[in-house]
């Protein structure tokens, strides 16, 4: 009995007039959402594909395929309503522990989707869609990696709508890499020429002064040095400062007087082999005089770490949605979501997820943002406000009504 009802419902929903009306309604709702503030960056944990498959008696892979359809639906809603960046958790590093069959099927699905996408480069370009894959790409199979690289490269110049796919990803891994990259950056010595050409602190050299004193004591005049620039740069090199002292540097400086561009190039070339010296774990081999210049570790801030994260060029995360009623983050975007992000756990399996479940979340977010704008002391952040400014000017009365409730 219940199956026939559900079949009737399905038939009814698939009939052309109903389908048309539903799609018009969706368009209207999405257009309406656009009028308020919208989150700039939303993250989804697409949880529940397997459970959906189990409860509906279909294969796990089929569940993942339905999950992909749900993703397409939600992405349409997001981008049409003005969300700039969507980040999805497609595959965790921990997921490699699942059955080989399932992992392979997921990989195959990713490969097919990404390579299909690459066939439609023109459409993606037209809408400015950009796909990025975040995570440990080195753990992927070569053919999947090739598909990933092709899709990412092809869309790398677009930027209106960004889809971040966290492919083999965990947040702890990301934070660790950010720390490691920061340390690597700070272990790379500064280009030596930058230090010598822009060092206002040592315009005089001790040896030169000593020479002068000695000369004055002897009552004779110091022989003139060829040029000022050479004196300054050569002396700062040997002036006991913590700059690398290369034997050919004096020659470089002398030959190319004040053309800073060539100096810079020369310095960078010298810097390449220099990279290895401090990390070679034999500090004794490096003479004290040659110790390279580093950026001070004290200049590391949260900003520095932020810039080394995989999401560094995205707006801050406004909303994180996890489906299937599991109420933990499972190592997803820990760093990004632990400050001003609103986290929402929905008790619905991902393949069922649609605009109707997403709408209350978005409206709730919009309400809170409008409220926190009214009362800046309250909670909330102020990122997606630009859009609402114009909307508020147009309809002050309606918004006041909203707030009164």
């Amino acid at each position: 009995m219940s199956t026939s009802i559900s079949r009737f419902r399905k038939w009814l929903l698939a009939s052309p007039p109903i389908e048309f009306a539903l799609s018009q309604l969706r368009d209207l709702l999405v257009g309406a959402l656009r009028q308020g503030p919208m989150p700039q960056h939303i993250a989804f944990v697409m949880d529940g594909n397997r459970r959906f498959a189990r409860s509906h008696g279909i294969e796990t892979v089929e569940g993942h395929n339905l999950g992909f359809e749900a993703l397409a639906r939600i992405l349409e809603v997001c981008y049409k309503s003005g969300v700039k960046v969507v980040t999805i958790y497609a595959f965790s590093i921990e997921n490699f522990k699942r059955s080989k069959f399932e992992v392979d099927a997921l990989m195959e699905m990713a490969r097919v989707k990404l390579s299909q996408m690459a066939q439609h480069g023109e459409i993606l370009d037209r809408y400015g869609a950009r796909v990025r894959v975040l995570g440990r790409l080195d753990l992927l199979r070569p053919d999947v990696l090739a598909a990933v690289n092709r899709a990412v490269d092809m869309t790398s110049n677009n930027g209106d709508c960004v889809l971040n796919i966290c492919f083999p990803y965990t947040s702890r891994d990301e934070i660790t890499s950010a720390i490691r990259d920061t340390v690597t950056e700070y272990t790379t010595p500064l280009p030596s020429t930058r230090a010598s050409s822009t060092s206002p602190r040592t315009p005089f050299s001790e040896t030169h002064i000593a020479q002068n004193i000695r000369a004055q004591a002897q009552g004779t005049k110091v022989e003139d040095l060829p040029s000022d620039t050479e004196t300054a740069s050569a002396s700062s090199g040997e002036g006991g400062g913590p700059k690398p002292d290369h034997p050919n540097r004096v020659y470089e400086n002398g030959s190319s007087f004040s053309s800073s561009s060539t100096l810079h190039l020369a310095g960078q070339q010298q810097q390449q082999p220099q990279d290895k010296t401090p990390t070679s774990s034999e500090p004794g081999a490096v003479p004290n005089k040659d110790s390279p210049v580093f950026m001070s570790p004290e200049t590391i801030t949260r900003q520095t770490l932020d810039e080394h994260l995989l999401t560094h060029d995205n707006p801050p995360l406004d909303l994180l949605v996890r489906t299937s009623g599991v109420e933990r983050l499972s190592d997803f975007l820990l760093w990004q979501c632990h400050e001003n992000t609103e986290i929402v756990f929905l008790d619905i399996l991902w393949p069922d997820f649609d605009l109707w479940h997403f709408l209350p979340v978005l409206i709730g977010w919009q309400r809170r943002i409008s409220k926190s704008k009214k009362n800046p002391d309250a909670e909330g952040n102020f990122d997606g406000i630009e859009a609402s400014d114009s909307a508020e000017e147009v309809t002050p009365t309606s918004n006041d009504k909203v707030k009164d409730l």
Binding site: E19, P278, R302, W335, N340, I363, L405
Partner: protein, 359 residues
């Protein structure tokens, strides 16, 4: 919305691993669902102007309709949330009457006895209010929570408060928790052992050296105070130290692994630096320092909605989160009160959840 017919075509294509349809076929299916290229703001500015001139009234009406719908759904949503809030406010009051601790540890234990599992490490996010006596209220909340936690048999409680004001008054807080415990348990000997500490602060357990061998209650409670500086700032400090070590050649950047970071970050919250007791620091410092499980099992957010607000990110990877205000009332005040039934609801919720590693 994609029509059923196209959905079927699409699914057939997937089943054959993307071989059935060619790229051109797929584009043909796709084309009705793509927005009109003329609507794009940036790509074709001239064309867009022409289009908008062609249908100015239609687009104006559409905008008005959208605005109207926006206002309408927000009003509707406001009404619905108010109704739900009122309903939950009533339910919450009923719960508050049915489940009240009456400052009796036995009653609390009875409330949690039927639960399948309890968190080993409970964490709560509290917020400082704006009233004058905000600090006093906050400390009282911490004391209440400490009493409930230890009564329900959870050994570790960590309290996150963004500004870190609690860390500056550890001795007073210790006293307040003590007096709260004595109102629950009675005399000193019947109280559970309490230790209170914060990262980078010495452990404070003044009382334990005085509490002699006649202790009747074997339970211990470790209270850990966290603030926003234990979050990102800790990572910044760690990175600074690692960068310094790397610059002086003591460490290769490749040596920085997840395990190293995990060990370092965990150490801050588990290892109190030194034992500081009022009389005789040497006595009893060995058996008192129990190792704290760094990852909380349950995170209770006493707030209107789920926002971590700077909570240290590293350890919440597998933490269950529960927001007491997600469905309850906010009519009385904008701040969520720390109430016993909220605490209890969190524990129930935790017991009902299933634990699976790796999604």
């Amino acid at each position: 919305m994609v029509s059923q017919r196209h959905k079927e075509l699409f699914r057939d294509d997937i089943r054959s691993r993307g071989t059935r349809l060619s790229a051109a076929d797929r584009e043909k299916i796709l084309s009705p669902y793509l927005p009109d290229p003329a609507d794009l703001p940036r790509r074709a500015p001239q064309r867009r102007r022409k289009v908008s001139r062609k249908t100015p009234i239609r687009s104006f009406l559409k905008l008005q309709l959208n605005l109207l719908t926006y206002a309408f759904i927000h009003i509707l949503f406001g009404i619905v949330t108010r109704v739900f809030q009122s309903y939950h406010a009533v339910v919450d009051r009923i719960f508050a009457i049915i489940y009240y601790h009456h400052r009796t540890p036995e009653l609390i234990r009875k409330d949690v006895k039927s639960l399948k599992r309890l968190p080993e490490h409970l964490s709560v996010i509290l917020s400082l209010r704006k009233e004058d006596d905000a600090l006093a209220i906050l400390m009282d909340e911490v004391a209440e929570l400490a009493a409930w936690t230890v009564s329900s048999g959870i050994p570790v409680l960590s309290v996150y408060e963004k500004t870190g004001v609690l860390k500056s008054c550890i001795p007073i807080l210790h006293q307040i928790i003590r007096s709260k415990l004595s109102s629950y348990y009675g005399t000193l000997a019947q109280q559970p052992t309490l230790q209170l500490f914060a990262p980078h602060h010495p452990i404070y357990n003044q009382q334990q050296s005085r509490a002699p061998s006649n202790r009747q209650n074997a339970a211990t409670l470790t209270v850990l105070l966290l603030s926003a500086t234990d979050g990102r700032e800790t990572f910044v400090d760690l990175t600074k130290t690692l960068a310094e070590m790397s610059q002086s050649g003591k460490l290769l950047p490749e040596d920085i692994t997840l395990e190293l970071v995990d060990a370092e970050i965990s150490e801050i919250t588990t290892q109190p630096t030194t034992t500081m007791s009022a009389e005789g620091a040497t006595r009893g410092s060995n058996q008192m320092i129990s190792t704290v499980k760094p990852e909380p099992d349950l995170l209770l957010i006493f707030g209107p909605f789920l926002k971590l607000d700077g909570y240290p990110p590293w350890h919440i990877r597998l933490t269950e989160m529960f927001c007491t205000g997600g469905r309850s009332s906010r009519i009385a005040s904008s701040d969520e009160a720390v109430e016993y039934h909220g605490f209890l609801r969190g524990l129930w919720h935790y017991a009902g959840a299933q634990m699976r590693f790796g999604r």
